[in-house]
């Protein structure tokens, strides 16, 4: 069938070589605008940041910019604040992803059961993801207030000790993680939900006939079947959590001290706070490499296929 159609086209149009040339012309006409812009706004800046990272460049004195080789990188890895921010980011990602997966998966399973008003519920569980991050951050700042906040009021009602939330070194990072998990859990819910829906009824019925309990069905059949979707969800959330800036910046600015200073806040502070563009660029590059390796590992581990 396919072959015949091709023959027809060839017969009607032009000899093979000419058609090839026509296709090539069409291809590059369509690709060129997008790729050229992409090259100039995405790839060139990355190259330029790499270049800047080899320089000592204090923004207010651009004329003193000079090449210093790998010194910025050496200093970064000697900078205990930077090393700590890497570990902090890892910890941050682990907390956020764990919360998101547990809640996201549980809620997704509930949402697949055929109950009344389910559609409305699904809509409600979605809302946080579309909030302006900055609004989310301030919303939680009101609630976190140690003296006036509603969270500590609830704890008081429940006769639990008040917490310091984002205002103490011990709890700041975890508090920010809770907020991020709160606003990104809908992502997990939706992706898991879609995955669960895509499992065909036949498979479920077959397992029921074989006498599988609901629990077995979940662990032995549903989970393995949505494994690829599961990894896509984790991949995207891990990358986004590593990059997270808005919430952390509004909630704590990396403080108190540097207790919630993740890689992205560190990089921001050094480049746009202290205006050390060379040092900041080096940090940005290390961070990019770090995230790329992480993403690639997950990509491979999950056997994700973007070609579908």
């Amino acid at each position: 069938m396919d072959g015949r159609v091709h023959m027809n086209i060839r017969g009607k149009r032009a000899p093979r070589g000419l058609q090839e040339r026509e296709i090539a012309k069409f291809r590059w006409m369509m690709l060129a605008p997008g790729l050229i812009v992409l090259l100039s706004i995405n790839l060139l800046p990355i190259a330029d940041t790499i270049l800047t990272s080899f320089h000592d460049f204090y923004l207010p004195r651009p004329q003193q910019k000079h090449f210093i080789g790998l010194a910025n990188y050496m200093n970064l890895f000697k900078d205990s604040r930077f090393i700590e921010s890497i570990w902090r980011t890892v910890k941050f990602v682990l907390i956020v992803i764990t919360i998101e997966v547990i809640f996201g998966f549980t809620i997704a399973i509930f949402l697949t059961s055929k109950l009344k008003t389910m559609q409305a519920l699904r809509g409600l569980f979605l809302v946080p993801i579309i909030l302006t991050p900055i609004a989310t951050a301030f919303m939680w700042r009101i609630m976190f207030s140690p003296t006036l906040g509603i969270l500590n009021y609830f704890l008081e009602v429940l006769r639990l000790p008040p917490q310091t939330w984002i205002y103490s070194e011990e709890q700041a990072l975890a508090s920010v993680a809770i907020v991020l998990a709160w606003c990104k859990t809908p992502f997990m819910i939706m992706v898991f939900y879609t995955g669960l829906l895509s499992i065909s009824e036949d498979v479920i019925e077959a397992s029921l006939i074989d006498g599988a309990s609901a629990w077995q069905q979940l662990w032995r059949i549903k989970l393995p079947l949505i494994r690829p979707v599961f990894f896509v969800a984790i991949l995207f959330q891990t990358v986004d959590t590593c990059k997270e800036f808005d919430l952390t910046f509004i909630l704590t600015r990396g403080g108190p001290g540097s207790s919630s200073e993740t890689l992205s806040v560190f990089t921001y502070l050094h480049s746009f706070g202290f205006l050390r563009m060379g040092y900041g660029s080096a940090a940005a590059i290390v961070m990019s490499v770090f995230i790329t390796i992480l993403a690639y590992t997950l990509f491979r581990a999950g056997g994700i296929d973007f070609e579908n």
Binding site: L38, G195, S271, I291, F306
Partner: protein, 280 residues
């Protein structure tokens, strides 16, 4: 037998009630923000917190009178529409070619992976060189600088998204058009593009939403003339104290267009969130 059915019904009802309770608890921060925006200054800062009060629209009036909210909206709309429009015009044709075995160039896989890096690399990596560049050209505090920065995300996103929609359209369709004498571009623009219209709409809404909510680039690049809505929210933070009423009211207002838009893309939501990797 009958009791068994009754028990099942009961479990269903309990499940629904539990889920609704959970949903309300989950959305409590949003409810609390809404209620704060309807409170007077004194009520908003009272402890223990007040749950029942007479709502006032003073804060919303203040947003209107005391801040340049309309101007922020105007800036946000201009930036979001330009970035979305440019992104789709440039990205859609490229996405189409990359989705078709017949047209795509050798190494199209590496092109796609390179595009994916726009999602992986932290925004600040793009920001540093562009900031230096914009400063040289005196483009700080202009719409165009923010549009370019938003394009760094939207263009790559758009290509991946649109490609996933094009992959869903069987090649036979344009094949028949080609037999009827359509040019390659004609088959794309007259046969495929109309079929991909829902995909275009979803991609556009996602891009618009990204631009509308974006904070880091706007924080660094905008000034008095070009502040966007997220910075309008941020504006209520003073040196001495935060005007919670004004801030929450602005936050609620900023949410409205996005809520309206999302009503339209329920179907493409998961695809948008995963750049087409998971088709919902």
């Amino acid at each position: 037998m009958k009791t068994n059915i009754q028990r099942k019904e009961l479990i269903k009802v309990i499940k629904i009630i539990l889920l609704w309770a959970l949903a309300l608890m989950y959305l409590f921060p949003l409810i609390w923000t809404l209620s704060t925006s309807l409170k007077t200054r004194v009520d908003a800062l009272s402890y223990p917190p007040i749950f029942f009060f007479k709502p006032t629209f003073e804060n919303y009036k203040a947003v209107w009178v005391e801040s340049d909210f309309l101007k922020y909206c105007f800036n946000s709309v201009i930036i979001a529409i330009s970035a979305t429009f440019i992104g789709l015009i440039m990205g859609t044709p490229a996405a189409y070619v990359l989705s078709r075995k017949r047209y795509r160039p050798k190494g199209s896989k590496s092109i796609l992976m390179a595009i994916l890096s726009t999602r992986v690399v932290p925004q600040i990596t793009f920001m540093i060189p562009f900031f230096i560049f914009f400063r040289k050209l005196h483009l700080i505090d202009t719409h165009i600088s923010v549009v370019i920065m938003h394009l760094t995300i939207i263009l790559g996103f758009g290509i991946w998204m649109m490609r996933s929609y094009f992959l869903d359209i069987p090649f036979e369709l344009e094949e028949s058009g080609l037999i009827d004498g359509c040019s390659y571009f004609g088959a794309f623009s007259r046969i495929i593009l109309p079929l991909a219209a829902p995909g275009l709409a979803t991609t556009a809404i996602f891009s618009f939403n990204y631009s509308w909510n974006e904070f880091l680039f706007a924080l660094i690049l905008t000034g008095l003339r070009t502040k966007t809505v997220p910075l309008g929210v941020y504006n209520w933070v003073g040196y001495e104290e935060i005007n919670w009423g004004g801030l929450t009211a602005t936050a609620i207002l900023a949410l409205i267009p996005i809520l309206v838009f999302y009503g339209f893309v329920q179907k493409g939501l998961v695809r948008g969130l995963t750049m087409g990797a998971v088709k919902g």
